[in-house]
């Protein structure tokens, strides 16, 4: 039972790895950005666990800025990905402009909330 699940897990990893290397470079760049943002958020949570959560608004704004920009990058990835048929008449420049606008609003609010 354990052997079959570990074999399943290995198969899973191998097929995921091979499928992922086929994705185009621009999407891989966006994925890297998402991973970086989530990693930063995790570091902030770990720091909060060490030091305590006062002032709470600063902690929230830090974590939410990372999560927010990660989520927006994922939305950008969805809109730019050529395989998604729902978004095929959306120009990638428009998608990127939306992404920049939303990030601008996000970071302006974060700056106000940071205290």
């Amino acid at each position: 039972m354990v052997k079959s699940t570990s074999k399943d897990a290995q198969d899973l990893f191998r097929s995921l790895h091979s499928a992922y290397s086929a994705t185009p470079t621009n999407l891989k760049v966006i994925d890297l950005y998402v991973v970086f943002a989530v990693f930063t958020a995790l570091i902030q949570v770990a720091y909060m666990a060490l030091v305590g959560s006062f002032p709470f608004n600063s902690f929230l704004s830090g974590v939410l800025s990372c999560i927010g920009t990660a989520v927006l990058a994922v939305c950008l990835r969805i809109q730019v990905n050529k395989e998604n048929k729902e978004f095929k008449d959306l120009a990638p420049e428009r998608a990127f402009a939306d992404f920049v606008l939303c990030n601008l609003v996000l970071h302006l609010v974060i700056i106000n909330f940071l205290g």
Binding site: T5, D8, D11, L12, S15, L16, A19, Y20, F56, N57, L60, S61, L64, I67, G68, V71, L72, V74, C75, L76, I78, Q79, E83, N84, E86, F87, L90, A95, D98, F99, L101, C102, V105, L106, V109, I110, N112, F113
Partner: protein
């Protein structure tokens, strides 16, 4: 307006010759008529739509002006006076002072942090309109802006309803929705001119947020989701009812997920709106960190995490292209996600970090909760469950058009119609639990009814516009072709279809005209009274105005020292601070139950104990409202039992049965001795025993209760009468300083 174009621009040779004929002056009159403008059908339609919307816009505004025409341009009720006072402060002192305002004029001696405990949307909106008008050199008084803010935003709501109806169904439904919501009494009740309350802009913000979100889900565009986040921010700044949005939208997403309508557009729309909306909402001091700490907001966060899981699974499935591997992966991920989520929620709730649902919203789920545990919430008349008559009064024909509209929505299910169905059903449930929430259900009911009306009228008129089908040779051929195109051509076996359609159309027209008449009548009779000015019909049919409230407040303003403290029941607090400009002990904010209970205890104790309480609170004046002379039934004696209950909730020395006789509340000779000698009784009926109020009745006949009072010979030891208004509605007493001890 694109409609009134130069007819020569249409380009048909016929119109050019007609235009040449029209140029001569005697034909000027004929050129004004619509037919000779020779517009294309699209332009005619645009002209019709714009003119209908313009008329509906003006209608929504003027339908709300009854009280301004009958009385004067003043602020109504109780809560709007606080909003008016804060708006006045904002325009005089500026935004920084307003945002950090600590008010020492209310809740003496505690004070109130106004900057952090109000929803600033309404005040900021009115101030912006005021500053814009002043910039354009229209020097209006801020009170006029405040009075007319609600009708202005009601007109804007009709526009949003039109666009929303267009999204859900088509432009016809949008127009009908705009027309229905312009005069619907459920909405008018809280948005007449003078009702300067949060709901005036909140309903506009609510409908705007929902429209923008549905548009974002339909298009999958980040900019529409950003716009809906801003709409949500406006709603959060305007009203505490934003909790409805932050729970309905995740519920909607959940329903879409369950009905296998998950799409990437939904992912983009919900995530962008949730993160940006949550961040923007936390900028309002009153809301603070509730979006991550309060139980009412956890649904949204749960759905957010669920969407991440869905997206991740979808992506992995797309990458793998192998179902067996994917199934195992699916099993592992789903079980671990549910486990982690459940543990986090459990730990958060158990440790108290995630606060449970507050009393106000918990009583929506369990209506009996407030009556047993929180008497202040139970005492507000707006929080009572709704009677059937209220539904009929506020909705009229929309009540039966709503199920018809639901049927049409289910016939054409899409992301947008699913949303409006959910909004309608959830808001109607809550409207059944609390009368005040009929307002929130009104836009949904109007939209769904509009779908019913528009679809029905469309079907009927298409029947009318079809040409009679030429009868084919042979009955079988005729039957066959009529079956295939049953919608467009008339069925030969039903020769009176056209007549039936005309009859039904006349019926629809009759119903809609009755609706308009009902709405106008309801607005005029029931919802246009300012509550602070009372009116009655005299013996000769002339109108008698009772302006006692304002008379009393202005007496306070002009005849008491500026640092005087006034004790009254909490209903009148906002009005006293706004118009009387004096410090009050408790007001309508009701944030401190113990303080209110102290006042309630003072009102229901004997004069000596009450005097001790009043000395401890530095009270200089006591204000009571008494309706015995005029028959006004919302006075303090009728509210007295609530004072006893609230006071008794904190101070066990006050016991409700002491004031009742056999469970009955009486003020005549058979009343309990505690009732006949308590402070409230004494203050209300002081010198009333000498007054003849009605012909043929003994002195001291209380017209509001319909009985002769029990204790006519009242002597006051520690208070003296300062002022009684001309109709005895408001009575003010001065608290005497303690006598010198010898």
């Amino acid at each position: 307006m694109g409609g009134k174009e130069d007819p020569t621009a249409n380009g048909s040779p016929k119109s050019e010759s007609m235009a040449g004929k029209k140029a001569s002056p005697p034909d000027l009159l004929s050129s004004i008529s619509l037919k000779s403008l020779k517009l294309k059908t699209k332009q005619q339609e645009l002209l019709l739509r714009v003119s209908i919307l313009g008329l509906v816009y003006v209608l929504a505004f003027i339908a709300r002006l009854f009280s301004v025409l009958r009385y004067e341009s003043m602020i109504h009720e109780f809560d709007p006076y606080f909003n008016y006072r804060t708006t006045l402060f904002l325009t005089e002192k500026g935004f920084y002072e307003f945002w950090n305002w600590f008010d020492s004029e209310s809740w003496y001696p505690l004070g109130r942090i106004i900057g952090g405990t109000l929803y600033p949307g309404l005040m900021v909106t009115a101030a912006l309109i005021y500053w814009t008008l002043r910039f354009l050199r229209f020097f209006v008084h801020i009170r006029e802006v405040c009075v007319l803010t609600a009708p202005f935003f009601a007109s804007n709501t009709t526009l949003v309803a039109y666009f929303f109806g267009k999204e859900i169904w088509d432009t016809g439904a949008g127009l009908v929705a705009a027309a229905l919501i312009a005069i619907c009494p459920g909405y008018i009740s809280r948005s007449v001119a003078g009702s300067y309350d949060n709901e005036a802009v909140a309903i506009f913000a609510l409908l705007l947020t929902f429209y923008l979100f549905v548009k974002a889900v339909k298009t999958g565009s980040l900019s529409w989701a950003l716009a809906s986040a801003f709409g949500y921010f406006y709603m959060v700044s305007a009203w505490g009812g934003y909790v409805f949005i932050i729970n309905l939208i995740p519920l909607y997403v959940l329903v879409l997920l369950i009905t296998a309508r998950y799409s990437l557009r939904l992912y983009v729309a919900y995530n962008c709106m949730y993160i940006l909306g949550m961040l923007l909402a936390m900028q309002i001091r009153f809301v603070g960190f509730q979006h991550v700490q309060s139980g009412e907001h956890m649904g949204a966060m749960g759905v957010f995490l669920l969407m991440q899981v869905f997206y991740f699974l979808d992506w992995v499935k797309h990458q793998l292209n192998d179902t067996k591997l994917f199934q195992t992966f699916l099993r592992i991920t789903v079980t671990s996600a549910i486990l982690v989520g459940g543990i986090a929620l459990g730990v958060g709730t158990a440790s108290g970090y995630i606060s449970p649902w507050t009393g106000r919203f918990y009583s929506l789920l369990d209506p009996t909760y407030a009556k047993d545990h929180i008497p202040i919430i139970a005492s507000v008349s707006e929080h009572q469950p709704t009677a059937w008559s209220s539904f009929m009064f506020d909705y009229h024909i929309l009540l039966f058009l709503f199920p018809a509209g639901l049927y049409f929505c289910f016939k054409r299910l899409s992301d947008a119609t699913i949303f409006i169905v959910m909004y309608g059903l959830t808001s109607l449930y809550f409207a059944g639990v609390m009368v005040r929430l009929i307002l929130v259900a009104t836009p949904a009911v109007c939209l769904i009814s509009a779908i019913a009306v528009s679809a029905t009228v469309k079907n009927l008129t298409s029947l009318l516009r079809t040409k009679q089908k030429v009868p084919q040779t042979g009955s079988t051929k005729g039957a066959g072709s009529s079956k295939s195109s049953s919608k467009v051509t008339l069925d030969q076996s039903q020769p009176f279809q056209k007549n039936g359609a005309i009859a039904l159309l006349v019926g629809v027209f009759y119903l809609l005209s009755r609706y308009a008449i009902h709405c106008t009548w309801v607005t005029s009779e029931a919802y246009s009274s300012p509550s602070i000015v009372l009116a009655a019909r005299g013996a000769h049919g002339n109108r008698i105005i009772f302006d006692d409230y304002r008379e009393a407040y202005y007496w306070l303003r002009q005849n008491t020292p500026t640092d005087a403290k006034v004790m009254s029941w909490w209903d009148y607090g906002y009005q006293i601070t706004a118009m009387g400009n004096r410090t009050v002990i408790v007001d309508n904010n009701t944030w401190n139950n113990t303080h209110i209970a102290t006042v309630g205890r003072a009102m229901s104790s004997y004069e000596d104990e009450a005097y001790d309480i009043m000395r401890s609170l530095d009270v200089n004046y006591v204000l009571v409202v008494f309706g015995g002379v005029t028959g006004y039934s919302s006075d303090d004696i009728n509210k007295f039992l609530w004072m006893v209950r609230i006071g008794g909730g904190v101070y066990p020395v006050i016991k409700e049965p002491d004031y009742l006789v056999n469970g009955e509340f009486r003020v005549d000779k058979g009343a309990s001795p505690k009732m006949l000698n308590c402070l409230m009784y004494k203050l209300c009926y002081y010198r009333f025993g000498e007054l003849v109020t009605e012909y043929g009745k003994p002195t001291g006949y209380d017209r509001a209760r319909g009985v002769e009072i029990g204790n006519k010979d009242i002597k006051l030891e520690h208070l003296e009468e300062a002022y009684t208004t001309s109709n005895w509605i408001v009575r003010i007493y001065r608290v005497k300083p303690p006598t010198n001890r010898l």
